[in-house]
């Protein structure tokens, strides 16, 4: 059923990483990604993996969650790996027709695959340890300097919050509408693609009608609670950096420094 899908993939907890300022977490993840792509050798990849081996246990997220995050992109990883293996020039190990397997190709394929896995594991750690609302909040605050350029930062964040709030409600509603139309004999499992697309109409129309009605009622309720845009708004939860944030920053900077050192000591592989 639709409602079994979990959105946001947030794992509530009280670990050190959970308690970090979401703004810092976003910045650190960006730093980590830059670091992964700065490193160009085996040593730098080991540093990338080393980071994960420390960060996951500290945040009390089981390592198997890495696999769960990577699973949807396995086809992409395999596809790029195959391309790298077969089309990169270098010392030929085996060849057939236009395809040739080179040593450099294999190295590159493995490096890229490890990089992508690290990238996904790193960003997943952010969503696993940060609630969607905290994430939205942090993005709003990080982007707030852009308000001076008349970018609707508050409005975008508000829209994201409301979307997050209503996703479970609308999923439940979709389930209900599907059941109700099935009860009237709607057939959604058989027929051609066109038939199936047509069978969506009895679901989509009520869903849209209901979403608009909800939007209207919500807007009214927000107005009644004195909502008037981002101007003059305060927040209950103030974000502030504390010790753990600086420890996290120091750790990432340390990893980054290691990466740069490996770059000078070890031969580049890209």
């Amino acid at each position: 059923m639709l409602k079994d899908i979990t959105i946001g993939q947030y794992f509530p907890g009280k670990s050190l990483v959970h308690r970090m300022d979401p703004r810092m977490k976003i910045i650190l993840v960006i730093l980590y990604i830059v670091m992964l792509f700065t490193g160009d050798n085996v040593g730098s990849l080991i540093v990338g993996i080393f980071f994960l081996l420390i960060a996951y246990p500290v945040s009390k997220i089981p390592m198997k969650m890495v696999a769960k995050g990577v699973k949807p992109v396995i086809p992409i990883i395999l596809f790029t790996a195959v391309l790298n293996m077969l089309f990169v020039d270098g010392k030929v190990l085996w060849s057939w027709w236009v395809f040739k397997l080179t040593q450099e190709g294999i190295q590159l394929a493995v490096m890229m695959a490890v990089r992508i896995v690290c990238l996904i594991a790193g960003t997943s750690l952010l969503t696993y340890t940060t609630s969607p609302i905290a994430l939205t909040d942090a993005i709003e605050r990080l982007l707030s300097p852009l308000k001076k350029l008349n970018l609707p930062v508050h409005e975008l964040a508000m829209m994201m919050t409301i979307a997050l709030r209503f996703i479970p409600t609308l999923i439940e509603e979709t389930d209900k509408i599907i059941s109700a139309q099935k009860a009237r004999g709607a057939d959604m499992e058989s027929g051609s693609i066109i038939d199936r697309a047509k069978a969506m109409i009895p679901i989509l129309i009520p869903l849209f009608v209901s979403a608009f009605r909800r939007a209207e009622e919500l807007a009214l309720a927000m107005e009644c609670r004195c909502y008037r845009g981002g101007e003059g708004r305060t927040r209950m939860k103030q974000l502030h950096l504390c010790g753990i944030d600086f420890v996290g920053l120091a750790f990432v900077v340390f990893c980054f420094a290691l990466t740069l050192i490996t770059n000078t000591l070890l031969p580049s592989m890209f």
Binding site: S131, P132, I133, T161, I162, L164, R165, P168, T169, E172, R213, R214, E217, L218, L220, A221, M222, E223, C224, R225, C226, Y227, R228, G232, R233, T234, R235, M236, K237, Q238
Partner: protein
């Protein structure tokens, strides 16, 4: 006493337009006063104008003729709109469609954040509001994990956090199951008794109206009755005629009176009805059979 009036509708009229641009009158020269600290039910069938009236009390709608005065402020004074909305909190029928945030406490804080209250003060008021509706232990839950009655209590907390003088609830229990209805009614009664908040409860459930200080019955944009529940529910036939129920106790008493039996005319609660029937049986020489 003049200063005790919190809500005043003074000869207000209002109409909507139908699809053919014809005006449909909804409120017809209606006047109503609500005093500070009162618990008033507005009872009426769908389309009687009760929701439209509610929307006048915090300036969502402005009357075409007449005036609506909230705590001395005319709702026409545009620059005082947020003063009015802070004084009169609104709670709507569908709890899902009035919760904005993905965490209970964030939602309760929403109005205060809009009003620009300081963070420390918000925290305090949010905790107070959640405690007063009995939802404090759910403060970190997501709204979709809550039952209908719990969601509605969160919505009430979101309004209470503004420290309003008055709350207007537009059929807050219509979508709830009996347990949810009971929770919400208990919460509202408590807010009225313990915190002295004026409550205007729009409903079509007569058992809820029976718990109020005063019942206003609306029909066709006008006020039909405006009196204590006992008085209003003795008009069994008139209420039926405008599509409303009366408590079964009142209905039974009325039917027996109709047959010529002598019962008090203002029976509305179970206990009163049982007492009245007991007196009737005693009077007829039928006494309890096995009492110590």
């Amino acid at each position: 006493m003049e200063q005790d009036v919190i809500l005043l509708a003074d000869h207000i009229s209002f109409h909507y337009f139908d699809d053919n641009e014809r005006p449909i009158p909804v409120l017809k020269d209606l006047s109503l006063t609500v005093n500070r600290g009162e618990f008033v039910a507005v009872l009426g069938h769908n389309g009687s104008g009760k929701s439209t009236l509610a929307k006048h009390f915090n300036a969502i709608l402005l009357p075409e003729t007449g005036n609506c005065i909230v705590d001395g402020i005319n709702t026409r004074e545009e620059n005082r709109l947020y003063d009015i909305r802070q004084r009169v909190g609104m709670v709507f029928q569908n709890p899902d469609n009035q919760i904005v945030a993905t965490i209970v406490e964030e939602d309760v804080a929403f109005a205060l954040e809009n009003m620009g209250v300081s963070p420390a003060e918000i925290r305090k008021r949010v905790d107070d509001a959640l405690k007063s509706v009995g939802m404090y232990e759910f403060r970190e839950h997501a709204p979709h994990q809550l039952s209908g009655g719990q969601k509605q209590r969160v919505a009430i907390a979101g309004v209470i956090a503004m420290r309003p003088d008055c709350i207007v609830l537009d059929e807050p229990t219509a979508m709830l199951d009996p347990r949810g209805r009971w929770e919400v009614m208990r919460t509202i009664r408590q807010l009225n008794r313990e915190f002295g908040i004026t409550v205007v409860l729009i409903t079509h459930y007569m058992d809820e109206a029976a718990q109020c200080d005063r019942v206003v019955v609306m029909d066709d944009g006008k006020i039909l009755f405006n009196a204590a529940p006992k008085e209003v529910f003795s008009h069994v036939k008139a209420l039926h005629a405008v599509g409303l129920d009366v408590p079964q106790a009142a209905q039974l008493a009325d039917e027996l009176i109709e047959l010529g039996y002598s019962l008090p005319p203002d029976v509305i609660s179970e206990e009163e009805c049982a007492d009245a029937l007991a007196a009737l049986l005693d009077g007829a020489g039928i006494h309890p059979q096995h009492q110590a």
